[in-house]
């Protein structure tokens, strides 16, 4: 069969993935370097009967996709840096109300307005803890168009499966890199649809009473069950409660439903890891550089391997610990001051063998940036 091959930007691959996954409502606000996502969807979504709206600000676009999701739609917004900061309160609302939705954050240099057109991976920790209060979150990332397409679909699937907002953490380099994308045929990649309640009309439906497997079947707004959704701590009816036992159960549920399924959520790619004595750990655009270094050194007989993280939160501690255990040293390659480095150090047995190769000036991390660190570790001087 003839393949459907596109030559597109990463932001376009994200749009293709979202449409494949069944996106039918998008709200957004223009911001570099994510704007192409909104531009493309304003054209593509109405053509398939979906809804696109450019809202008055970043906050309202996050709120609008939550509202639309409650009516049964698959929804998404896309933003960058400052816009991601502005969305945090509403992301917490989606966490608390367990409303599925996908938030794309194309990272750019920060803090503040920072470097609007330059690359960064400085939002890793904001993705984890950006909204206030104890909670768990799911975040995926990708290093090339094919993976952006796949991870966008995964983001929708995980958001439906776990009734949680899912952050798709891209960066300026992957979002604007133009490269090949082989489109999947319909049915080729699994698409998870919303789990609806089987409770019949006229029978009490408890929107926040988890089933035995921890999942909460939904009922669409406008359907036959009328219930309350609130950002306040709530009971199984969705009615506000501050009873300690109710709140405790809710908090444990919100965290456990994600942290307790870390293995299921974990997405990694492994390159030459089995006999490696030096392991690079990287993600997003940085992983492209890391892979180049690994393959280049392999040609010279050096045993380097790469563990590319495609899910950042919940942190894939198990696979990181396992892969790090068998190597002499580890280099985390990222474009920040070590946000994933600290996570890696927290889970390995020997913290002193973990090093950082990074770039924080808005320019892309290059193989020589990684090799400089490698040479120091190998005692060959800078």
């Amino acid at each position: 069969m003839k393949q459907n091959v596109l030559f597109v930007q990463g932001n376009e691959a994200c749009v293709e993935g979202a449409l494949y996954a069944g996106l039918n409502f998008f709200a957004g606000y223009p911001i570099t370097p994510s704007t192409e996502v909104a531009e493309l969807l304003s054209y593509r979504l109405p053509a398939k009967g979906g809804k696109f709206i450019q809202m008055e600000d970043e906050l309202s676009s996050m709120c609008a996709i939550i509202g639309a999701s409650l009516t049964g739609k698959k929804t998404m917004t896309a933003t960058s840096g400052p816009g991601f900061s502005l969305k945090q309160e509403a992301i917490g609302f989606a966490v608390m109300t367990e409303t599925p939705c996908v938030v794309v954050n194309v990272q750019r240099g920060g803090p503040s307005t920072g470097l609007p057109t330059s690359v960064s991976q400085g939002d890793v920790m904001q993705t984890r803890w950006g909204t206030h209060g104890e909670h768990a979150i799911i975040a995926l990332t990708a290093s090339n168009n094919q993976d952006i397409f796949a991870m966008t679909i995964e983001a929708f699937n995980l958001s439906e499966t776990f009734r949680s907002p899912v952050i798709l953490l891209l960066d300026e380099i992957v979002a604007h890199t133009r490269e090949k994308l082989v489109m999947a045929e319909p049915g080729e990649i699994n698409v998870v649809e919303r789990l609806h309640t089987s409770v019949p009309e006229g029978t009490d439906y408890h929107p926040y009473l988890p089933r035995e497997d921890g999942r909460l079947p939904m009922s669409d707004f406008g359907g036959v069950h009328r219930y309350n959704v609130t950002g306040l701590a709530h009971d199984m009816w969705g009615f506000p409660s501050n009873k300690p036992e109710v709140v405790c159960e809710l908090m444990r549920h919100l965290v456990d439903k994600i942290e307790g399924h870390t293995r299921e959520i974990t997405r990694v790619k492994e390159f030459y890891v089995h006999d490696a004595d030096c392991l690079l750990i990287s993600y997003g655009a940085s992983a492209r550089t890391a892979l180049h270094v690994v393959e280049n050194r392999r040609e010279r007989g050096e045993k380097l391997g790469l563990l590319e993280l495609q899910s950042l939160w919940p942190f894939p501690a198990e696979v990181v610990r396992k892969r790090c255990a068998s190597v002499n040293f580890v280099i985390v390659v990222e474009m920040n001051m070590g946000q994933i480095l600290h996570e890696v150090k927290a889970v390995v047995d020997e913290r002193s063998k973990v090093f950082l190769a990074n770039k924080i000036d808005g320019s892309f991390i290059t193989p020589s940036d990684v090799l400089d660190i490698l040479r120091i570790i190998q005692g060959k001087g800078a």
Binding site: Y43, A47, M55, A68, T71, A90, F93, F221, R226, N228
Partner: protein, 267 residues
């Protein structure tokens, strides 16, 4: 249906203070809906944060209690996704005109068919009596111990200026008129703003020389007048009530349906 069929008795008693006007607004809203015979499954109530917003929990509709100021943004998502549903958005004055002011003017500009009901008690009640954008000049509040120097918004003028196609003001004293106005607002195709002056005896009244809720309702009775009445000529300080504007302009979801039509034909 009797009024009790529209409420969730399971969650009573409500949390509003004795004498609060918000229950009167809730009762009027229910009666307007009953008179219009709209099915409960077709109504979505979206609120923000504050005393007014707690109305959501008590009503037996699809109810969404959201973030401070953002009710209209959530409601826009619901409405655009399911245009056939009736959207009612109760807000407070702080909710609608301070933290959520941007969403109010843009909902008005779009003319999306959402019904905003602003329960204006001139104070932040839930947090204990701080001045709001509708607190009068010189009024006292916990954050204005020397008297408020912020000039208040005229909520009606703001809504009119932003392009709302239905704008009305009423009070908790004028219940029969409030019910009629709410019916017209809900029936209106487009964004509607109904400001309801609703007393807060606990935090506004106590600080501003209103001994009781009855005194405050008496104020609404004596210090408001129907739009265009001659009383206003004699006493310019009187607050006008009634429907200020009711006009037809293309509604947002209807316009979006045209976009869908064009797009489905290949642009």
């Amino acid at each position: 249906m009797p009024v009790r069929d529209y409420i969730r008795e399971r969650f009573f008693p409500h949390l509003w203070c004795p004498g609060c006007g918000h229950g009167i607004v809730m009762g009027s809203m229910i009666r307007a809906i009953e008179n219009l015979a709209i099915r409960k499954n077709d109504i979505v109530v979206v609120s923000g944060i504050g005393c007014s917003s707690r109305i959501c929990g008590y009503l037996d509709f699809h109810t969404l209690h959201t973030l401070h100021g953002r009710a209209l943004a959530f409601a826009t998502g619901v409405k655009l996704s399911r245009p056939e549903l009736t959207l009612i958005v109760p807000m407070g004055d702080g909710d609608a005109f301070a933290i959520g002011g941007n969403h109010l003017i843009h909902a008005a500009r779009r003319n999306i068919d959402v019904n905003g009901i602003i329960m204006n008690n001139n104070i932040y009640g839930m947090t204990g009596g701080q001045y709001s954008p509708s607190t009068g000049y010189g009024d006292l509040a916990t954050t204005a111990p020397y008297g408020n120097i912020d000039p208040p918004f005229d909520l009606v003028k703001l809504a009119l200026g932003a392009g709302a196609t239905f704008v009305a003001r009423t009070t908790t004293y004028h219940v029969t008129s409030m019910i009629k106005i709410l019916e017209k607002a809900i029936t209106h195709k487009g964004f509607s703003v109904v400001e309801v002056l609703s007393q807060c005896p606990t935090y506004f009244g106590r600080k501003n020389k209103f001994a009781t809720a009855v005194d405050m309702m008496n104020f609404y009775k004596t210090q408001t007048t129907p739009i265009g009445s001659k009383e206003k000529d004699k006493n310019p300080d009187l607050i006008e009530r009634g429907i200020f504007i009711q006009e037809e302009r293309p509604e947002y979801c209807a316009e979006y349906a045209k976009v869908l039509e064009t797009a489905s034909q290949g642009g």
